[in-house]
């Protein structure tokens, strides 16, 4: 059992480092959910099933969904902004030509 505890502890630290270093937001969120599941196991091993239940439901589940939702929103806004910028770039030369 000590081996499993060690694995969970080291795994938690590794996942946290991976979340902080990750450049890709989606990857970070997926790792965050993994972190929540592993933390649930840690609480179970520490004989705190109440905390484990709350962590699994709120920490891993609902927070993960909210973060994914936020990423979706950011992507949509980024795409919309890119669209607008492209249009502006295309519009500019025409304006310049008309002025000349």
């Amino acid at each position: 059992m000590t081996f499993i505890d060690l694995l969970i502890g080291v795994g938690l630290v590794f996942i946290v480092v991976a979340i902080l270093v990750s450049q890709d937001l989606f990857r970070a969120v997926v790792l965050f959910v993994t972190f929540g599941v592993l933390l649930t196991l840690a609480w179970v091993r520490l004989q705190a099933p109440d905390l484990a239940l709350a962590e699994a439901a709120i920490g891993a589940g609902l927070t993960g969904v909210l973060l994914l939702d936020a990423i979706g929103f950011l992507r949509k806004r980024k795409a919309a902004r890119k669209d607008r910028d492209n249009k502006a770039i295309r519009a500019k030369p025409e304006q310049g030509a008309a002025n000349e």
């Binding site: 109440d50 484990a52 239940l53 439901a57 709120i58 609902l62 909210l66 929103f73 949509k76 919309a80």
Partner: protein, 236 residues
Amino acid sequence: MNTQLRLTLASVAGVALFALLTLAIWYHPTSTVDLPQLVANSLAETGTEHPITAVLLNFRSYDTLLEVAVLLVAVVITLALAQQDSNEALSSLEQPARDSLVIALTRRLVPLVVLVGVYVLWAGSYQPGGAFQAGALIAAAGVLLRLAGWPIHQRANLLLRVGLTLGLVVFIMIASIALVSGQPFLTYPERWAGELIFAIETVLTLSIALTLLSLFLFSPEALSSQSRKPSKEKAQ
């Protein structure tokens, strides 16, 4: 060079924090009061058999009451922000195409999740479980429904608001019963303690589930991005 400096500083700070935490664990102060033993001694008077439920809803029930109040404030602010985006956006949201497989899956899964939630609530009186966990499970069922495309977010009416506040209102009402007979706030009559705690937990589960679900459904940014989408499609 700059990144190297930053990395060095970050690693030094990390190692220092790690050392501090290790020291804190190593030299933790020995507590003068044996709290678990104290709880176990007076567990019979609390009306529940599970020590954590006893602490949350009997010994330290004032903390729980304030926690529920904080949740209510958070959801009130979320609803207020959602209303700024106008109610028309809420009602004119287009229905996403629903996959028949997803419908069949949610039809079978959601009742099961709610059943597990009710079990966790009931189990809270004698083993790990309770209102917060059960509420989170039921809220997760709601999130699942919304993600599968069921239009549950259109039911933002009076009933939702009553459900959101019911937990806190009932909690405060039961807490004030003791005031009538001259006892301090939040004292349960000893004969009815178990029943009263379970009643509080039941309404709390409903309110917490609705609160967590509303925080997801009515996040103002999600609404505004969805309401913008139809107009963009029209323009194209």
